[in-house]
Symmetry: C2
Subunit: 319 residues, 2 copies
């Protein structure tokens, strides 16, 4: 039985041909993530129309990978001209696109893939904002049910979150398979039940960012102060427990209801007084200036290594 | 020189008499923090009018401390009747109150302390919402300049943040001494330059919470989904880098300006569509229910141990 399961799993893995469309930051990070989990690196295909694709992959992808996986990079199959798109997807079980963020591009690429990829291939978009239903508009219904958004939190080889945002036409079986796929790779897929603008993670983060911009604009704190505040309070707290569990704990035996009985007045006062800054309203110059003065160019390699340590430290048996 | 510095520092430490007014969760946590840093635990005084103060401190404070500090607890000086308030503060260098969150209580306690504490004592309020200027209204100007808010992020023996919120009358020398005091204890004091409603940390967190409540109310995600999203994305990210540094990195060599050129449209759409739920508008029942169903009573000891690990992992030389 044990042996059968192992060989069955090997077999399943062997059939997972993954094609990534687009090799920007997100594409490279996904490539790194998949290389860690594929038994055979030649099952990974990258399609990107940059002429120097092979040199680019060879020089940049190693930064995302531990040295024992550097040899695997040369086995990735690369395609970099439009005429090779059919070959790039012909054996794909899974296709994930992270191309330009515009609707005509997405609609066109899916139409091409509908013609050339296996009719069972799972179709995933890394878009941060274009709903699957819009992307799928001109596809055959049997293709539409295989297409959904899988929005990573950059960079996906480090950050566990994947927002799985189906369209109303995505088949529930496809959603389940998508969740299982990412869970098997140690990721945290979360299904978002409506195609909300900006999905969920960005909406939450942008709500906090808007208030932060307001407080900087009002001279209450600097951008550096905001970051010091967040990294020494809600950042580490929310690495361990999310806001609802945290505030629920704040209410003791009375739960979130007791918390709101106690602090609801203050919360409402903060909400009444909250910032309503918009893009282009003139706060930008000062906020951008403070960011450049304080941070300048920043080293994401250090960030990613540190974040891996944080994620490890935050992992507990009850989660 | 080296010896002189050591003895000078010892002498400074020896003169730091700390009186905590109020021994609730925050008071106990501050007591634990101070015990770790005081050479002589009898320099710590706790005033709280609960009749069983000694038994209460003996039974609850050990939970906040490693076992090598349990013996120190018996040396804390305890006072639990109003008539002993003068004795509780007579040798205090620093007094921090975490009493009931109502203005008359704060104004009255500071009036008593003005009469009985040394005229050089630093006066700190742990309030999460009552500005120092309101608390100090009826005090002598020489007392007002020594009073400010030092708002912890609960629990302060674990979480590094202290929001230092002076009134316009607080002396700048007092603000500097307050910052230096907390930095010497490995904390992250951040001076907030205006007495904004809710200060800064709660305003930021409540902005995100409001949007989270909106998304749960709209059926986009559950409270558990929100927490899974946050703990697998912005939580660990913001434990390492705050939102401004993170988004600045997102813009590459073009900085935050490039980030907004790229994603500003999406951010604005999220802001236009953001939730505007208020306390008492009917979302509570479902949100509270989901919290109780999913989390029930939660163990803050595990949270705190895990958070200590996260903070250690997030600490880097460049911060």
């Amino acid at each position: 039985m044990q042996n059968w399961r192992i060989s069955w799993r090997r077999k399943k893995r062997k059939n997972t041909g993954i094609t990534l469309i687009g090799a920007g930051t997100i594409g490279l990070s996904f490539a790194a993530l998949h290389l860690k989990h594929l038994n055979d690196p030649s099952q990974l295909v990258i399609y990107d129309t940059r002429p120097d694709l092979r040199e680019y992959i060879s020089s940049t992808l190693p930064k995302y990978l531990s040295s024992n996986l550097h040899d695997a990079i040369q086995h990735i199959k690369l395609f970099n001209t439009p005429s090779t798109l059919p070959a790039a997807v012909q054996n794909a079980t899974i296709i994930q696109e992270q191309g330009p963020e515009n609707l005509p591009f997405k609609q066109q690429i899916w139409a091409s893939l509908e013609a050339h990829a296996p009719s069972s291939a799972l179709l995933r978009s890394s878009t941060s904002g274009i709903p699957a239903s819009a992307q799928a508009r001109f596809l055959h219904p049997s293709t539409r049910k295989r297409l959904l958004v899988v929005h990573p939190y950059n960079p996906p080889h480090i950050m566990p979150l994947l927002e799985v945002v189906p369209s109303p036409e995505t088949a529930s079986s496809i959603i389940l398979r998508t969740e299982a796929f990412w869970k098997a790779r140690g990721r945290e897929p979360v299904v978002v039940h409506k195609e909300m603008t900006g999905f969920v993670a960005n909406r939450l983060a942008f709500a906090l960012l808007r208030e932060a911009i307001h407080l900087v604009k009002e001279g209450v704190v600097s951008v550096e102060d905001v970051d010091r505040i967040v990294t020494s309070s809600m950042g580490p707290r929310w690495a361990v427990w999310g806001p609802f569990k945290s505030y629920r704990a704040g209410g003791g035996s009375g739960g979130l209801e007791a918390f709101f009985k106690n602090i609801g007045g203050t919360a409402q006062e903060c909400w009444n007084d909250a910032g309503r800054e918009n893009v282009g309203e003139g706060w930008e110059r000062e906020v951008f200036r403070q960011c450049e003065n304080r941070f300048g160019m920043v080293d994401t390699v250090v960030r990613d290594m540190t974040t891996e340590g944080v994620l490890k430290a935050a992992k507990r048996p009850d989660r």
